[in-house]
């Protein structure tokens, strides 16, 4: 059995009288250590999938299994614990705590995890060893995103979820960030799932799940993923 499995997962939202199906019965599997991209236009339901997998949202129906545990049956409390120990998030808008320095933002993760990695080393790993004591407002977008990656890594999670990590960055900075994610995932053998609407970015993944209108249109295994440097968008 795969590390991550989605079985007939449905997520409905009630908007007034009508019901919107953001995810309409999807099935997929992701092996441990894989670099997966979920591709689709906005409204395709890809972020919903990420949220469901990240334990931030409840599935209306269906079964979500992660590492042998059924996430779709967890209580809110155990979902929090799940997020704590299993998941690392990288957001489109970084979501750093403005009142904490870069180092402290990374240390935040350390405070709550069972088996955290050294925050200083993580920051050095993302190339911010010299900016540890700066506040988010004193950093560029790319730097902030790197802090966010360091924070996700420091938790030593099994899965790293990235929601449009380059969405707010220019392409040069985006490249640096993507390369970082990919290299680290490979070095540390992390399962990475990246959500993007950019088809070229998906080319660097081992596996691309293509979504449209809440359905999976295609799951493509990519046996020769491109290097980040080769991608142009």
């Amino acid at each position: 059995m795969s590390f991550i499995t989605f079985e007939d997962v449905v997520r409905e939202y009630k908007v007034g009288e009508s019901v919107i199906r953001a995810v309409d019965g999807i099935n997929f599997e992701i092996p441990e250590g894989a670099f997966t991209a979920i591709l689709g236009q906005s409204g395709a339901g890809k972020t919903t999938v990420l949220n469901l997998l990240g334990g931030m949202d409840f599935a209306t129906r269906g079964k979500i299994m992660v590492g042998g545990e059924e996430v779709s049956k967890m209580s809110e409390m155990s979902l929090t614990t799940y997020r704590r120990n299993i998941i690392g998030f990288v957001f489109q808008f970084y979501n750093l705590v403005p009142n904490l320095t870069a180092l402290e933002n990374v240390q935040l993760a350390k405070q709550i995890c069972k088996d955290p990695l050294n925050p200083k080393e993580m920051l050095e790993r993302v190339g911010l060893g010299k900016r540890m004591f700066n506040f988010p407002s004193q950093m560029s977008g790319g730097e902030q995103q790197r802090v966010s990656i360091a924070r996700a890594l420091a938790k030593n999670p099994k899965i790293i979820l990235c929601d449009e990590p380059t969405g707010a960055l220019d392409s040069g900075t985006g490249h640096i960030v993507l390369k970082l994610i990919k290299d680290i995932a490979r070095d540390m053998n992390k399962t990475v799932i990246i959500v993007t609407h950019n088809a070229p970015i998906a080319d660097m993944a081992n596996c691309v799940i293509h979504m449209k209108d809440g359905l999976i249109r295609e799951i493509k295994q990519n046996h020769t993923p491109k290097e980040v440097e080769e991608i142009v968008w």
């Binding site: 949220n51 931030m56 929090t80 704590r84 120990n85 403005p98 407002s137």
Partner: protein, 771 residues
Amino acid sequence: MVKDVLVKKSIKDIQKALPQFISIFVMAAVAVSIVVGLDSLWKTIDENAKAMYQTSRLSDLWIGIMNPTEQDIWAVNHIEGVEETEKRLSLNVQTDLKDSPTLRLYTINEETSLDRPVIREGKWEESGEAILDENFAKSHGLKLGDTLSIKVNERWLDVRIQALALSSEHIFSIKDSTTLMPDASKYGFIVVDEDKIATAYGGQKIYNQINVRFAEKYDPKAIQESIDTVLGDDLIGIMTKKDNRSIQDVEVRIEQFITLSRVFPFMFFFVTALITLSTMSRLVEDQRNQIGTLKSLGFSGKSIIWHYTSYGVYIGLLGAVVGIYIGPLVIGKVLINQLRNLYVMDSYKMYLYMPNIIMGSILIVFCTGGVAAYSCLKIQEETPASLLRNKPPKKGNHVLLESIPVIWYKMKFSHMLIARNISKNKGRMLMGIFGVMGCSGLILGALTLNNTISGISKTMYEEVYSYDHIAMLDDKTTDKDIYNLHLDGVIQHMQESGIQILAAGGERRMARITILDGGSPLLHLINMQKQPITVDKDGIVLSNKLAETLGVIQGETVKLKVIDDSYQEVVVKDITYLVSNQGIYISRELWEKMGERYKPTSVFIKWHSKDRSFLQSDYVESYEAVENQKVSFEENLKIVYLSVVLLITFGGILAFVVLYNLSILNFFERLRDLATLQVLGFYKKEIRALVLVENLVSAIVGIFAGIPLGKLITDIIIKGFGENLDLISQVSKLNVLIAGVITFIFVIIVNLVVAKKIETIEMLQSLKSVE
């Protein structure tokens, strides 16, 4: 319509931040209602008392003099500033009613125009006999046309009641120092035709007072000095309005409420302004983009400023209207009802104090509208373009604590976050501290007041006095009589009367003097250091409060007016601390050396046996048990307890409103941060702690800051008790603890409410976009 759109927007904005706007409104209404309520209280007493003084033509001072000659009166009449004089007889008389209550007798004739009784029922005619105190009549079931016996000059006189009335000199009707609460069944007044009274003196008209009324705006001090000069040795003493227990008490009570209505609401106005500031700044900050949009659409800066200002103005006005309405209704009515038992007045028509209603309303609108305008002025300076751009991310800041790495790096992150937040939102923190400080201060003040007062009747009637009964002696009873009775118990007799005392600084009072004979087994005077003191031939003892009023210190000399003689200088040997019964204490030896005669007027008795027949004997005019004195003393202070309850209530409202606002603001401002933490895997209770610990920090600082405030509040209220009560407030550790705990409970309640809000954090929405 351009305007309509903005009005709609206002309504929606207010709906969105309803709790905050409601708090502003509540605060504003409370602030105004306190001002208006407390003002209505003193204004009502003031106006109705003044109206009575005017109808009865109250004198400005009363000269004590035995049978003044025509020459005396002529001389007083010609003192500059004296407008009118009249002579009368004024003394306490016994009645033949049950428990032989005492009446203050005043004589009247056809021409009397000063200090006239205010007739409530019946009519005073030339051939008339007596006008009786209406309340006294009621409590004894006496009606118009009934006859009453009074004892004048050792003779019983029957007088017919022709009218029932009230008196300006008996609004607060207290017989003497042994009673503190008016009791209409025990003491009242009667006004009798002077011809009728003359029959008790063998047809001779006797007078012992000259009533003096001043022309407008004359210095009573200068007139008193002139009276002193012109009357010389004939003068017994001068009683001014300050020496009149009733007038003075009314005056003091008014002052007390004026002070309260000036000092007390300030905190509430201040807090209203603070809450408005934080709410409006937040709103304006939130709506940067909207303001930019409106500006770029072509709305003028003025109309945008007015748009935001109007929130404050309308809420302030609404608060003012509600405050003006409920202030007199709640605070006014409740307290006035308490006062009815204390002050007997012709009418209790409620008066409002207009200047402060207007001032208070303007002030509150300024605290809301003005502050709202201020909060959006900042943003006005920016161009529409910069407003439309997203605000640069909030700056983080280093705090002082970081310079001590040993501590800083040992701290949890949540604590670091709290430290940074506090240093960033200093204003808001300050507001929280103020709110809590106000709350704990008010509660502590209330408790301290309660303590100070509940302690005093005990000190007074268990420590200072140790008798079972105090008996007022009949005029005939002498010290030899008492000695010969061989009463079974400890006996201490003394003479009490009034005397003119003149300080070196020129300050003068008609003060109570107590002449003690021999030792003092049942009266235990102590000095300010709580050491016992004795009264002997070397000098007099002054009570602390009287000494303060006169501006006299230990070792100085003062002058006492001896009857039929000039002033005599005596040394103030000691100052004694007395809660109540302020006055002068002198030994019989010194008293007689001054040329006075000693004649006991009252006696303290601590019984050994159960035989109380002495109290019923002819030697005794009236008596009182110590327990009753204690009760009436506490009754008198009951109004204070009521203010205690009010203080605590307001303190609670204050703390609740401020902290609730603060927490909600804190919460919404950091919604995104909190959601991030939640996504990272922080448990809800950890997030709750993050928001609420800040409240706890301001609560703890505020509680401590409330200690001096509580002391201040107590002192202000105590000061208002006037010249009769000498209270020293002491903030006890227990009260600090209780006030702290109560405040803390308020804080916890607020926290529980806020914690509910935290449950509603939507992680997903907060992650989507930059604010």
